[in-house]
Amino acid sequence: MGCCCDEDDGDIFRHLMNSNFPSSSSTSATTTTTSSCTVISPMNSYFSALSSTDILRLIFDNLPIPDLARASCVCRLWNSVASQRDMVTRAFVAPWKLNDVVGNPLSGSFWRDNSLAKFAVSHHITRGDTVASLAVKYSVQVMDIKRLNNMMSDHGIYSRERLLIPISNPDILINRTCFIELDVYAKREVAVLYPNDLPDRRTAYVSNRISSEESNKKVLESLKRSMHVDNETAQYYWSVANGDPRAAFAQFSADLKWDWQAGHS
């Protein structure tokens, strides 16, 4: 029949009262129960089953995101279980059969929507890429790529290190790991897929890492000065050199030489 005098259950409530809601509820302890205590009533028939966090987790494992959020409003115990990161992650990845979501979003509102539009593939731009060629490669519309990356024209592609590509076929998400990033161009947090699930750490396009962006700016400035070029060109060379300033300069010199030899200068 279940054991209503389990010590474990007592610990759960003590833990809840101490951690989640540290403020004492002395004067406002009135609830709908006849007794004045503010815990799940032991008179409740389902007390034992529903006060077991293991069982609650198993139940919540079946809930989609909105139901999980509503479950966290039912009572303190349900709140403590439903708002755990692994529960939220599981609900987030469930429809897409993803392996994992890595990273901490800046705001909890990230988890509310797990539609396909939340996900994108990170494409590192290489020479010869155009928005059209990428649209073909990934089977998406040019408009959708431009919209996602806030591109005014097709030509801005070379001022970027990478483009986010919307996902056309949800099957590519199966068993993958995605990374939560605040993309500076998309201006929102996106769950990003990388080739081989290896995120590129040296990036200027992800603003979760603010300090690295500022140091990148400095590098760009010095490139501009040494190459005597404008912002766009400096960024282009920096991106094709994968963030390596020396390689960027080398590539630039090589291009200059080619231009000169071909009689263009």
């Binding site: 209503c4 799940i40 139940i59 139901d67 509503r70």
Partner: protein
Amino acid sequence: MGEKGESSKSAMLKHAEEEELNTKRLKTVEGEESNMVEETENIKLKTSDEIIFEVEPSIVKEMVTIQTFIEDNNNETSIPIPLPNVTSNTLRRILEFKARGFDEEFVKTLGMDEVFELILAANYLNMKTLLDILTKIIADFIKNKSVEFVRKFFNIVNDFTPEEEAKIREENAWAFEGFECDD
């Protein structure tokens, strides 16, 4: 829980013999071999109300708690294994459920009290398949329902202070926008 304790205990003791008969009938239902009782050495389980059930080893294998216990004791199966947390009613239901191939519709005919007893027993016995099915059924009860309905349905007391509840509702306001519950 407490309220079912004493009276049902005496009732069950009264019908002990009938229950043993039912158990044997159940075994016949699911395994056509009615004389397997002697040959494959069924495992004796003793429920909290002192009723002994003889259960086929294949079924006991799903009860990982029991199976582990048996293996840890050199497969000694002559002594009835005590199940202090499982009543005969519950064990009978479990065996019945199994005999019906874990038919979800069968569970929906049971009262909530009994469903939760099944969950507790399945959790204690560590029967993964049964637990997954039962918890999924409970989740189906929760989906698309309002918070008030869930509290009433599961007899859960709202133990938030008004301030806490307001804060949590605000954080999760998005989950209530345009939400049409089918209570």
